[in-house]
Amino acid sequence: MSTILVQERAIVVPGEALAEGMDYLPGDNTYREQERIYSKVLGLVSLSGRVLKITPLAGPYIPKIDDKIIAKVTDITMSGWRVDTATAYSAMLNVKDASSRFIKKEEDLSQILAIGDYLVVGIINVTSQNLIDVTMRAPGLHKIEGGRIIEINCQKVPRVIGKQGSMISLLKEKTGCDITVGQNGLVWIKGSTPEQERRVESAIRLIELKSHLEGLTEKVEKFLSEVQ
């Protein structure tokens, strides 16, 4: 006889028992110890079928293949650029992945991407030691020019994007800004005026603060119509 000890969407702390019995399975951020399943992080409970998992409320970004992230060039090497990914691990951008055009051997790489430039890049490979390779050769990946970059809690990225991009399209539509959200929690906002960029930023801060609550899109819509 298995029983579940917590409610769906309840906030649990690390070490809190979630279920008893072998009928439930431990999913993301949980672990089993004998008969019981426990939480491994501070987060919200979600149950899909027999699998219990916890959606963390905060936490580090874990690089995954095919993620789109925003990174900053920190160094230039023989074969490409080293970029900072806002995690504990830097990534390599190889010359052949940097541009669709052919880059000659003797070319000055700093003319193409300089130290300090921000880029929208895609992750193409992650090793067990978290060595990361990134690329700029895919649609939507480019060097960032203008606008501003803000840092958010990377666990809130799905909420800033919304279901099928509903939240981000709302933000774009209401403010006319161009917004790119990196999975690592960096967000690039470019608008026609700094005021519009500020509006997006405060809306994103609101999402971050209220992301664990229901009816988030309505709250943000109300906020954007109030703050002009």
Partner: protein, 241 residues
């Protein structure tokens, strides 16, 4: 020559008032404040991040690094010289060792999670307050951990086994003329909540085997109360409206 009544009027198994709050340092990845009586610890967690110096890197898992520090005017006596000293280094180490069994940094090879604990005010039991605060701060930072660690000090003042000694009790011979020749034992204890595994056990003074066993039973009860405070604070950080 017996310690009849505690100097601040508490029962022998009664903690000082405990208060916890999380998210107190906005620039940290996770933070918490923990107060027990006049003792006040603030913990801030940063990371996982790149570790310097490089030779400390562990390619198998991330490492935990602690820094404990009492603020200059935190004590009741003389000004405390800021910065690290032998005592602070030891306490930093025992805090790290007491938290290591619960945190799981296997997903972060070559990285470090830094914990900084500052004590704006101290009245004995600082390492326990520091551990309780650090454990909450780690949870807020979203570091994977199998449980929370809670900590409290127990001890023996004259002939009584008591929980959560304050500074006056630790120095009873100065503050209570009746106990001029009294001996004091101070035993900080930290435990993992579910398994009741002890992750910190130190002692200063002398105590008999029977008293130690009894003291640890008292510690278990006190720790339960600290744990309840920690959980309440963590859950209150995300209000339902």
């Amino acid at each position: 020559m017996v310690y009849r009544k505690r100097l601040d009027g508490r029962k022998i198994d009664e903690l000082r008032p405990v208060e916890a709050k999380v998210g107190v340092v906005s620039n940290a990845d996770g933070s918490a404040s923990f107060r027990i009586g006049k003792t006040w610890a603030i913990a801030a967690v940063y990371g996982p991040r790149e570790i310097f110096p490089r030779f400390l890197q562990n390619p198998k898992r991330g490492i935990l690094r602690c820094h404990y520090s009492m603020m200059p005017f935190s004590g009741s006596g003389e000004r405390i010289r800021p910065g690290s000293n032998r005592r602070a280094q030891e306490i930093s180490l025992v805090i790290q060792k007491s938290l290591e069994p619960v945190v799981d940094l296997s997903a972060f090879p070559n990285a470090v999670v830094d914990i900084f604990v500052e004590l704006p005010q101290t009245d004995a039991g600082t390492r326990c307050a520091a551990i309780s605060a650090a454990s909450m701060a780690l949870a807020v930072a979203g570091i994977p951990m199998k449980d929370l660690v809670s900590s409290v000090a127990v001890g023996k003042v004259d002939d009584k086994v008591v929980v959560d000694l304050d500074y006056m009790e630790e120095h009873i011979e100065e503050f209570n003329p009746e106990s001029a020749a009294a001996s004091v034992a101070d035993i900080p204890v930290a435990m993992i909540h579910n398994t009741k595994e002890v992750t910190l056990l130190q002692m200063d003074g002398k105590v008999s085997k029977e008293d130690l066993i009894y003291a640890l039973e008292l510690a278990k009860k006190g720790i339960e109360q600290v744990y309840a405070t920690q959980v309440k604070a963590l859950k209150a950080y995300f209000p339902s409206e």
